[in-house]
Amino acid sequence: MKVGLFIPCYVDALYPQVGVATLKVLRHLGVDVTYPKGQTCCGQPMANGGFESKAVPLAEKMENLFAGYDYVVTPSVSCTAFVRHHYPNLLKDSHTCELASKCMELVEFLHDVVKPDGPLGSFPHKVSIHNSCHGVRELGLSSPSEEMVAPFNKIRDLLQLKKGIEISEPERKDECCGFGGLFCVEESAVSSRMGLDKVRRHIATGAEYITGADCSCLMHQSSIAKKNGLQIQFMHVAEILAAGL
């Protein structure tokens, strides 16, 4: 099983430690993973903003870069959701998209493919899970609160492999944090209010850390927390999983 590591643009530029942690966890679990050079962006920001055509050349590039891998794994929910749900349409005029079916977000790849069952080091802290929208409603990382289905949470399942961890979820467990890509620029007032509401609910759980599978939601919330002088720390799920390995 050959796995290609996909590090999205903003993770690359702003959260390189999340990329390193992802690599560390995958290698620890014996996954044969490599990082092909020349990666930039999947095109999601432009498409969500209404300029899908600007994402087409980037989709082509991604498709070529990851040809020959069995799986492409990335520590980003919304990029995975974009590749999976929109690439087939973006590339429909040139060829059949292969990346859509083999691109997996880190948590789902670990949970559904690698399936680690033993302990994965320790993390003796209280964390609050941020269930990001695209993780919940597009990738199925957890059961959506709107739907009457048996409850599950793949992030929680993985975090439970850490010894000493205490896991909580905020009230309104999967309400949007207000990031939304260019939404946070175009609708900054609503976006800030949503972020503030979200961070406060995480803090109310008594957690030391807010964790999630999407750096973008964590980025948005951490900047809101900083601006409002709210004391809580942020860690991507990959960083927690990699801690102490």
Partner: protein, 427 residues
Amino acid sequence: MSKHSKKAKGFLKDARYSEWHDATFWAVREKRDGMAHGLPEWERLREKASKIKLHTLSHLDQYLEQFASQAEKNGAIVHWAADAEDFNNIVFGILSEHGVKKIVKSKSMLTEECGMNPFLESKGIEVVETDLGERIIQLLGQAPSHIVMPAVHLTPDQVGELFEAEGISNEPGNHDPTYLTYRARLSLRKEFLTAGAGMTGANFGIAATGDIVVCTNEGNADMSTSCPKLHIAALGLEKVIPDYDSLAVFQRLLCRSATGQPTTTYTSHFRTARPGAAPMHIILVDNGRSEWIANPEHWQTLKCIRCGSCMNTCPVYRRSGGYSYSYFIPGPVGVNLGMLRNAKAHSGNVSACTLCLSCQSVCPVKINLGEQIYQWRQQLPAFGTAPLGKRTLCEGMSMVYDHPLLYKTATGVIKKPFHSLKLDKDE
């Protein structure tokens, strides 16, 4: 900044009020969740409801004909209105024929859509809304801020002061909601007894029987149809469903989704006029719907049963209020309906979405509301309404991302990026 975002910013300035607004609608969402949890078959009901709507909309010509001919057999007079103007003229024609000077009506988003009240008023006809919320905003000269709870944005004090000014209440300073409701009831009773006609909308039209079904919590539709001797019912073409088996599916979903009640207090079925009354008039209104059905990306918006649950769950609606949207129906379905109605005029609403997709997970008929907003955004350049700044930004990003070297330089300036790290196994 989009039109919506400017208004939303204003809405959020009053922190206490906007927090109350968010909490109020979240509470409705939670009531809905509680009701849905009580039905183990909830997700199957949603799927079934969606399929019934898809089937009906794709065979709408047959069902409309069946509905109209059954209604005529029952003794109703059926009219077809091509657009709002046509609709308003038909209503006015019926009222003139019967010499009606005052009409009482129950809540109808369709009459709102067609601007019927101001039209009839300009013709000298008095129009009295009888749904309490609608009556309040009518007296204030406002539009609804939510399709199910039209006056939810007002406080009891505001309503109390209005009722004092209108002479509806006679105890100045008594703004107790129960008292105010009691006074409204007394005042409306006079209207019911003196009106020459009653109008209702319809939640459903049953093709198999020609019946119309109206769901209310206040019984005002029943008062409007049982006091005056003339009943006019108005329904959009998409309100027709095949039969009573289909109705049973929607009935289980509608009120649970809308207000978190198992059912509305009154579910009234109208088939024909009562003895001694004039024949019932049914007006089927197109007003754009037959064109929307032909829209490959957006026709499914017509599945909507107007429960309002997408508004209640929408984190943006809850934090921006109904008046931040330019179309009279706000929230996710309103963004979509507004774009179908007039894309140029309502493009300023498509920014009001984080694409969180909660709306389509809540929707009892499974409309892909968020995905459609994503589609509308792609279409803005064609309408000439794409924000220039956003376009420049996206073009810039696309150029940088398309050239790895440019990208490396750009990200290298910010900090030491992942791609520049040494990633040896023993690191």
